[in-house]
């Protein structure tokens, strides 16, 4: 069987490779053809547009002439040219020339060097004869293609992630599920372990016939064995029995025992495998949770801009602060509501809790699409934050309910994996949609996705999700106890909070605004933000592996070094913005930030247990981690406000650099404090 599987796998890989090659080849060929067609068709089109723009300027010159106004002395010509170039991105040079010398010019003169990129129009003026010159960017078509290629890349990556989610969903239910159950049942049967045979009551077609035949065969076999064993027992020889009969019965019993050793038969009827794959820890929660997170992540790349476009109403607060508020409110509500929601979702059941969160989230997205003022948006974002926290806690609780000590780590890793997958897909898709349809429609699509998540959860989530154990909510006493430990407090103040502040301040607030300010669209902001999640997904497993290796090889815990390293890299990323790198600067910044967080996030979480090991017995591990998560999330809420304040005060570069420098200093201080290994906490030693 294994040889057959291996050859099948090889064949599959070859087929897959061939398909990929064929698709890739045809895409590249199409792109090449399209490129030349674009060059042929679009360049004349762009030149015609340049000519139209020229006539607009000419009409103004004619009017000026009619009123005897000297064109060269009229103010506002530079602004007019700026506006025309902004409205027509393919035009990169507009100038009025007198005696071949520009008296007014905007853009790059180099683009006007070739006649094929240039339109010239004589202008009537009161003075010397003038010529209007307009040039089209020679690399305009290439630029269009680059934009499209980036969009395609994003869509490719997103569809890859989504199709992986889809594959997991499909193999978890329906015909694929039946097929995988058939495979599992046959595999178990071929090993002789008939207890591993399961069936699917809801299966259809051939799979149903096969599974029910298999199940009834196994059931019959089991029943026959039971009957046989009973018959042997009934006839078991008494003392005066015929020795021949006794011999025969002994032999039958031995054979039955041998057969039972070789073939393990179930003692109960063949069980139903259920609609959803239980071996996938998240099971039924996976797809709804992914969709729900995706719906919220859609707005990441444009929320600050959208907030800035709404009327402020009666508030007299600076615009940058206004723009930061929706994010901060969202994060604050998430942070504050999570500790209390845990017990609530246990009481009402994970299913009902998630359904409530999904529904409220969908309504909040839909209402955000129609928000008429900033205050409305703030309320709606707060509601969305609450819904997010409800769904998050329900999903987390679901993982805890459906895992035990051995599978919990894997379950939680899958859980984090889904969060990261959604954060890869959400921002760039949201940016793309916002550029095409506008932010309001993107919110409406988010509402649709959240509704989909709710419907899926309604269909798939088990009704009676028995809560496994009560997670004690974090109480004020726990905070006092946990924070009395100076090393725990230092870990929060120097590492956990700064790390969150810098991520949220940069990725959710400053980068989207900076990208827009530099004249790029929301899609570009989305792509750049996506880099963060991609680096996290790639980096976290590598870090975990490296940390474990160092730990094994040197018998030390290098966690503090990794946490400090992450903080230092984050800080340097912020300082990088002092250099005149423009948009590339933000891309490198987000890239570095992703790496930095990937380096520090897991070791930092592990250090919580290290530094508060002495308190664990008293306060309890879950309470300590509850305190840690809550305070860390308050850092999330602080991030945008701090960034907005700095931005208002000193501009983009200073805001990036100030936050970066502070985090860098935190990293150095953290290393100075924790470099001597993770010996049991001093505070703990005293008690």
């Amino acid at each position: 069987v294994s040889a057959y599987t291996a050859s099948l796998r090889g064949y599959r890989l070859a087929a897959l490779g061939a398909v990929i090659l064929a698709v890739l080849g045809s895409i590249l060929a199409c792109a090449a053809l399209a490129y030349s067609a674009f060059e042929r068709e679009l360049r004349p089109e762009a030149l015609r547009k340049a000519e139209t723009v020229g006539h607009v300027v000419d009409a103004l010159a004619v009017k000026a002439m009619r009123y005897q106004l000297p064109l060269e002395k009229l103010p506002g010509i530079d602004e007019l040219f700026d506006g025309l170039e902004k409205q027509n991105p393919e035009i990169t040079w507009i100038a009025i020339l007198v005696d071949e010398k520009p008296i007014f010019a905007r853009g790059q003169q180099a683009h006007a060097r070739l006649a094929e990129n240039r339109v010239e129009l004589p202008l009537i003026t009161m003075g010397d004869p003038a010529v209007l010159e307009i040039a089209v960017d020679p690399a305009w078509v290439a630029h269009l293609f680059r934009e499209m290629a980036l969009d395609m890349g994003v869509i490719l990556l997103v569809s890859l992630v989504i199709s992986m989610e889809l594959a997991i969903y499909l193999t978890g239910a329906g015909d694929f599920r039946s097929a995988s159950v058939v495979q599992g049942a046959l595999h178990a049967a071929s090993r002789g372990d008939f207890r591993g045979v399961t069936t699917v009551a809801a299966a259809r077609g051939e799979a149903r016939a096969l599974l029910s035949a298999l199940a009834s065969a196994v059931d019959t076999l089991a029943m026959k064995r039971t009957l046989l064993a009973a018959a042997i027992a009934r006839r078991w020889p008494r003392r005066n029995a015929d020795p021949r009969e006794r011999e025969a019965l002994r032999a039958a019993l031995a054979r039955l025992r041998a057969a039972t050793r070789e073939y393990v038969l179930p003692s109960a009827p063949v069980p139903d495998a259920g609609r959803v794959d239980a071996s996938n820890v998240l099971g039924a929660m996976r797809a709804p949770f992914f969709l729900f997170l995706f719906s919220e992540d859609l707005s990441r790349s444009f929320l600050p801009l959208y907030a800035g476009s709404l009327p402020v109403g009666p508030f007299a607060i600076p615009v940058h602060l206004v723009v930061s508020l929706p994010i901060s409110i969202f994060m604050l509500i998430v942070a504050l509501s999570q500790p209390t929601l845990g017990t609530w979702s246990e009481r009402v059941g994970r299913r009902r809790a998630f359904l409530a969160g999904g529904l409220v989230g969908a309504c909040a997205h839909l209402a955000s699409a129609g928000a008429g003022s900033l205050s409305e948006l703030l309320v709606l974002r707060a509601i969305a934050g609450f819904a997010w926290a409800v769904a998050f806690v329900a999903a987390q609780g679901f993982v805890i309910d459906h895992t035990d000590r051995d599978t919990r780590t894997r379950g939680l890793a899958t859980f984090v994996g889904i969060i990261m997958a959604a954060s890869i897909c959400g921002p760039p898709m949201g940016g793309l949609l916002a550029d095409g349809l506008g932010p309001r429609w993107t919110f409406a699509i988010g509402a649709l996705l959240a509704t989909g998540a709710t419907l899926l959860a309604w269909r798939d989530l088990p009704r009676a999700a028995a809560a496994k154990r009560a997670v004690r909510p974090v109480r004020a006493r726990d905070y006092a106890a946990a924070l009395a430990n100076p090393r725990f407090a230092a870990l929060l103040a120097l590492a956990a909070i700064p790390a969150k502040v810098i991520v949220i301040a940069f990725c959710f607030y400053l980068v989207p605004l900076y990208v827009a300010e530099s004249g790029y669209n929301a899609a570009m902001a989305g792509r750049i933000i996506m880099l963060y999640s991609v680096m996290m997904v790639l980096g976290v497993p590598i870090t975990t592996e490296v940390v474990e290796r160092i730990q094994r090889a040197r018998h030390t815990r290098p966690h503090a070094l990794f946490v400090a390293g992450g903080l230092v890299v984050s800080g340097l990323a912020g300082l990088l913005m002092l250099m005149p790198l423009g948009l590339w600067g933000t891309a490198v910044l987000v890239f570095l930030l992703g790496i930095a967080q990937a380096i520090s996030i897991a070791p930092q979480s592990a250090m919580v247990a290290d530094v508060s090991s002495a308190d664990m017995g008293r306060v309890g591990e879950s309470a300590i981690y509850g305190v840690y998560r809550l305070i860390e999330r308050l850092g999330n809420a602080m991030g945008p406000v701090i960034a907005a304040f700095l931005l208002q005060l000193a501009g983009f570069q200073a805001a990036f650099a100030a936050i970066g420098a502070s985090v860098l200093l935190c990293g150095i201080a953290f290393y100075a404090m924790f470099r001597n290994g993770n010996a049991p906490a001093r505070a703990g030693a005293r008690t």
Partner: protein, 329 residues
């Protein structure tokens, strides 16, 4: 679009149903036209609208020639002849005919006014909608925000000067509104008032000094509000501003239409004001709405006028984009 077409169709059907009934009655509406300084484009617009809509009207034309005594005579005549509607031009004629809202006259006959700068400030109505008396009409000054946007399109500024008559409640209201509007665009107001005589009446003394003082306090524009005393002394104010090379901005067509060297203005077209007033008259006469239920409104479109010769003489050439939408004279 479909809904609007439907509404239009319904409206047309309603009109078609009504017009034969009217012609059967064969009695045209009698409108009494009380003018202040002769026939203007406002009345042309008024007449043209009603003619186009097929409303039969018999006009009675009276011109006061800027004489208040004559307006009192008109009022007596209206009481005797009892026309279906009285039309008045400007604040003086309107107040002369209908009186302020706290001392109303001519009750029982609907009055439609046109070309009143500030109907609330001049106490013709206590508020623009739900005015509580059978007087309605069209005021012609653009909202302050639109005015400031127009001025900024010409040339940005940090300080705006204003010269006004503190005895006119209308001017005080306008100045307050202007101050608030300037605050919203991050600019400041520099104010000066006309000299006041012992009798509480404004004096034309010291206009030059006041304009010079505004300039020295950093004013970059001089705002010409709908102030009657300012209008009567416009020649001197505008000439002083020109000497100080302080550009002037007018808020009414009468200010920009005068021969005084005013630079620019955002004003209502008189013809459009007349058409809108006629629409209100139609609502009252044909639509049978009591005048008290028809709100007092202004137009939503205004004309940006620039005096090219003043601009050239003062060296304040308009930005080229203004050629796209301003009217140059």
């Amino acid at each position: 679009v479909r809904r609007r077409a439907l509404v239009a169709a319904l409206g047309a059907a309603a009109l078609a149903a009504r017009v034969p009934a009217l012609s059967a009655a064969a009695r045209p509406y009698r409108i009494y036209m009380a003018l202040w300084r002769g026939m203007t484009d406002v009345e042309k617009g008024f007449q043209a609208y009603l003619t186009e809509r097929g409303v039969p009207v018999q006009y009675t034309w009276r011109d006061a020639g800027q004489n208040r005594a004559k307006v009192a005579e008109f009022q007596r005549e209206v009481r005797e002849t009892r026309p279906d509607l009285v039309y008045t031009w400007g604040t003086s004629a309107t107040l002369g005919m209908a009186g302020p809202y706290d001392a109303p006259q001519l009750t029982g006959i609907p009055v439609v006014f046109a070309l009143v700068a500030d109907p609330v400030g001049s106490k013709i109505v206590p508020r623009l909608a739900g005015q509580g008396r059978d007087v309605t009409g069209v005021y012609h000054v653009a909202p302050v925000a639109a005015q400031l946007e127009a001025i900024r399109a010409y040339r940005r500024f940090a300080r705006m000067g204003v010269l006004y008559n503190p005895a006119e409640s209308n001017s005080l209201a306008v100045t307050d509104e202007l101050k608030a509007g300037l605050g919203r665009v991050g600019a400041r107001l520099v104010e000066a008032r006309f000299a006041m005589g012992a009798d509480g009446q404004p004096l034309a003394d010291g206009i030059d000094e006041r304009v010079a003082q505004l300039k020295s306090e950093g004013a970059e524009w001089l705002y010409l509000g709908p102030d009657t005393f300012l209008y009567t002394n416009l020649d001197r104010v505008a000439a002083a501003a020109k000497r100080e090379s302080l550009p002037t901005f007018a808020t009414t067509e009468s200010l920009i239409d005068s021969p005084a060297p005013v630079l620019a203005g955002l004003v209502s077209r008189y013809r459009a004001v007349g058409e809108f007033a006629a629409y209100k008259a139609e609502q009252i006469l044909v639509g049978r709405h009591p005048a008290r239920d028809v709100p007092v409104e202004t137009l939503s479109r205004f004309v940006f006028i620039v005096h090219v010769e003043v601009a050239k003489a003062m060296g304040f050439l308009p930005p080229i984009t203004l050629l796209n939408y301003a009217e140059f004279r």
